[in-house]
């Protein structure tokens, strides 16, 4: 019976894809103005429980056109421009993305909960389409990233950046 089950589990690889690595998935993204700035709220599977077990190097990436802001958990947010991000985040772009940008004092994580992450957006992200994606780079295990979810930010004082 064990052999039968083992065979079946191998056959179920697609079903369990990702189960041997951090599961990251975004269910909903809401971006809205707040005061004279803006904030974004991510709901989904953030691996936060897992983050508490082992220092999981999770990053939230928000981008708009070629402008981005990156929130490494436990690190300083970075913002800048990165032209390849316009076509979405691919694992091969992550290394170059992480080398781009500079410290962004006007951005920060406001709240971190098991299925919710709230962050302040910097002035460089203005009205328009905003896209969010989560990713993790694990030594020896490679890149893991969530689905990308876009939403529209409107009503920010000053409009476009």
């Amino acid at each position: 019976m064990t052999a039968v089950l083992a065979t079946l589990y191998i056959g179920m690889g697609a079903v369990r894809a990702g189960s041997f690595g951090p599961t990251l998935a975004i269910g909903q993204v809401v971006a809205r103005p707040a005061g004279v700035g803006a904030m974004v709220e991510i709901t989904g599977i953030l691996g936060f429980d897992d983050l508490m077990q082992v220092n999981l190097p999770l990053s939230l990436l928000i981008y708009q056109d070629d402008r981005f802001v990156r929130y490494p958990i436990g690190g300083v947010p970075q913002s800048g421009t990165f032209r390849p991000i316009r076509s979405g985040l691919l694992s091969r772009k992550i290394e170059r993305l992480e080398a781009a940008g500079q410290d962004e004092p006007q951005a920060g994580i406001i709240r971190l909960e098991p299925s919710r992450l709230v962050a302040e957006l910097p002035p460089s992200i203005g009205n328009g389409t905003v896209t969010a994606v989560l990713y993790v780079v694990l030594p020896d295990l490679g890149y893991f990233q969530s689905n990308e979810v876009s939403t529209t930010l409107e009503g920010v004082v000053g409009g476009s950046p």
Partner: protein
């Protein structure tokens, strides 16, 4: 739960004695002297507890459970805070003669705040000499996986889990059930010569000004001979837990997955709370056995105090009403100082506030409290305090406090974790209001610290009994008394009580049969007295309020395809469905799992669930007999994402 008859008890005891004398030598040393079954396999017994077995159906809480108080578990496994290398097992923190209880800061160090809590799990020789025994430093359990789970004493009564022995008696049992249901930290590791060391981060905490939050550590280890089975082929050994945890290691580690354990791979812990057995406090035999005293008198577990990180933001909260509270598997409520600052209470975060559209309620009072990054109520800097600007918009105004003539903004100094009470009002037809919470910065743009969405509920007061639908325990029949003798959340006029006994409290207000209640509201297909037009689960007997744990937005009671019962649709659900479709398992439920509606369980049902798990399909599009609508929004109780 039934105690087995004396004859069976005698037979069982005879079999135990016989097997102890003939087969015990095959077991690892930790089981020496423990009662074993006729096949020589030790029984799982938690320390200090009687023998409790799930019986032939392998499920606790059913009529074939075996309960035998003539056997009492000894201490096989011990967990202690800290890194311990000595051979003698030290006393728990806070025990007489033991070390003082340690204090840690929440956050696990993942954000540069807080720190991880180190622990040591030790296999005990149960010698009692020295007092807590010695570590069983043998290699027969090497590489066996261990788990450490942390639980929080939310009500600070010094006991973890439901008990009627505290001053509140049974009145706060739902809060105490929450303590046991929702773990606040977890970790896995491996035994090596009788010991496993590691660290874990803790999610929730309380401000140091109210003494922090007491957290208790419990541990389990899975024994056996086959690493491919995660060593789940042997008998698990436990410290005391606030409930009986799953005996099958796959219900805790690996989530039905086979493969090498790796503590760096987070998703290898998949905990299914529904597999736990937590007897109610009034259970005649087991009612208080699982409550863990936190004064150091319980030898196998250990405690520490967790305090919140530095205040970095603010959030609105509502105080918990213990009588209306329902426990969930999520750690979502928080300890806080009471509003007078003289004691402590429990609060629930409020990120969205609804006012009835008919204007029946015009003001709501919430508490604005300083919080750390993880949403724990926190102490602000005692030297500078913590200033928050409230900025209202969309028809919302701040009625109190009011330091100036402008009701749309207010600067508030949060000088302590007691925070302040804020009275929020709503005027005009706007349905998309909010209050932004901003942290002013000198010479720079304010930082965003949080937000409260304010909207109008569409329900109003349909039965015109003066109680808004959102607060009404019977929305379609006028019942101003709100009488609810069985405390199920549905008024007597709506849960069939008045139809069965017209003399019950409040029945003079209605006196209708349950069937008549739903005339004109789509009938009541499942007979749960929730009319179909407002029932999120039309074909499943449910009650309100529904609990929604997963982010699918679908109430737990009617989430199609959630075989594991963890309130999320994951690959595990799809995998089990595939097994049911292939007749390798038989515990699926057609009313819940036939998500494609063809009347049979097939690989397509598994595939549909897998698509939801991979975010390729919204969960609300899955239908099953329990929730056949396939819609969201409005009165369905299902969020549209």
């Amino acid at each position: 739960m039934t105690q087995h008859p004396p004859l069976l008890q005698l037979a069982l005891a005879a079999a135990l004695v016989l097997s102890m004398s003939t087969r015990a030598g095959l077991a690892p040393q930790v089981f020496y002297g423990d009662p074993v079954d006729p096949d020589g396999k030790a029984f799982p017994i938690m320390p200090g507890l009687p023998l409790l077995l799930p019986g032939g159906d392998e499920q606790f809480g059913t009529s074939d459970d075996i309960y035998d108080p003539s056997f009492t578990g000894d201490v096989d496994l011990v967990v202690r805070v800290g890194t311990i290398g000595a051979a003698a097992i030290p006393p728990p923190n806070g025990a007489p003669g033991g070390p003082a209880r340690q204090t840690s800061t929440a956050g696990g160090g993942v954000t540069g705040q807080g720190e991880e809590v180190s622990f040591t799990v030790m296999v005990s020789d149960s010698s009692g000499s020295p007092a807590y025994g010695n570590v069983l430093m043998v290699g027969d359990l090497d590489y066996r996986p261990i788990t450490v789970f942390a639980f929080a004493d939310l009500d600070a009564d010094g006991v973890l889990g439901p008990t009627n022995a505290d001053p509140s008696g049974s009145a706060d049992n739902a809060i105490e059930e929450q303590e046991a249901k929702a773990f606040v930290g977890r970790q896995v590791g491996f035994l090596w010569t009788g010991r496993a060391q590691g660290s874990l981060g803790l999610q929730i905490a309380a401000p140091a000004s109210i003494g922090g939050l007491t957290v208790s550590l419990s541990a389990g280890a899975y024994t056996g001979a086959d690493p491919n089975e995660f060593y789940g082929d042997g008998t698990p050994i436990f410290t005391l837990w606030p409930y009986f945890p799953p005996l099958d290691s796959h219900k805790v580690i690996g989530g039905d997955n086979y493969g090498p354990l790796d503590p760096t791979i987070r998703s290898e812990i998949i905990f299914t709370p529904d597999m736990n057995y937590l007897p109610p406090p009034e259970h005649p035999q087991l009612g208080t056995l699982f409550a863990i005293p936190l004064d150091g008198s319980e030898p196998s577990t250990d405690q520490l105090t967790v305090v919140s990180g530095p205040a970095s933001g603010a959030r609105f909260f509502d105080e918990i009403d213990p009588e209306a509270f329902r426990a969930t598997s999520r750690a979502w409520i928080r300890p806080a100082p009471d509003s007078e600052g003289t004691g402590r209470t429990l609060v629930a975060p409020v990120d969205e506030l609804s006012f009835p559209a008919d204007g029946a309620t015009t003001l709501r009072k919430l508490r604005l409290l300083p919080v750390d990054l993880f949403g724990n109520v926190a102490d602000p800097d005692p030297n500078s305090g913590f200033t928050i600007d409230l900025v209202a918009s969309g028809g919302v105004y701040i009625a109190s406090p009011s330091s100036d003539p402008y009701p749309l903004s207010e600067r508030i100094l949060l000088s302590s974790a007691v925070g302040t009470e804020v009275l929020i009002g709503h005027i005009g037809p706007a349905a998309d209001g909010r209050i932004d919470l901003l942290r002013p910065q000198t010479g720079r743009r304010s930082h965003v610290a949080g937000s409260l969405a304010v909207n109008l509920s569409s329900g109003g007061d349909r039965d015109a009994d003066g109680i808004a639908d959102q607060n009404d325990n019977c929305t379609l029949v006028s019942n101003r008394s709100q009488a609810d003798v069985d405390g199920d959340g549905l008024g007597n006029c709506c849960d069939g009580r008045c139809a069965a006994d017209p003399n019950s409290a409040g029945c003079d207000e209605c006196g209708l049969s349950p069937e008549a209640l739903c005339d004109g509201f789509g009938g009541d297909t499942d007979g749960d007295t929730l009319c179909d037009s407002e029932d999120p689960c039309r074909f499943f007997h449910n009650s309100l309020p529904l609990t929604t744990s997963g982010f699918s937005g679908i109430p737990d009671e009617c989430l199609c395809g959630d075989v594991t019962g963890d309130h999320f649709l994951t690959g595990s659900d799809a995998q089990i469905l595939n097994h049911c479709a292939g007749f390798l398992r038989f515990d699926c439920d057609l009313s819940r799992d036939d998500v494609d509606g063809d009347g049979v369980l097939t690989g397509n049902d598994a595939a549909q669930v897998n698509r939801v798990a991979g975010f390729l399909l919204p969960a609300y599009l899955l239908t099953c007999p329990r929730r056949p609508e396939g819609t969201c929004g409005g009165a369905t109780g299902v969020s549209c994402f």
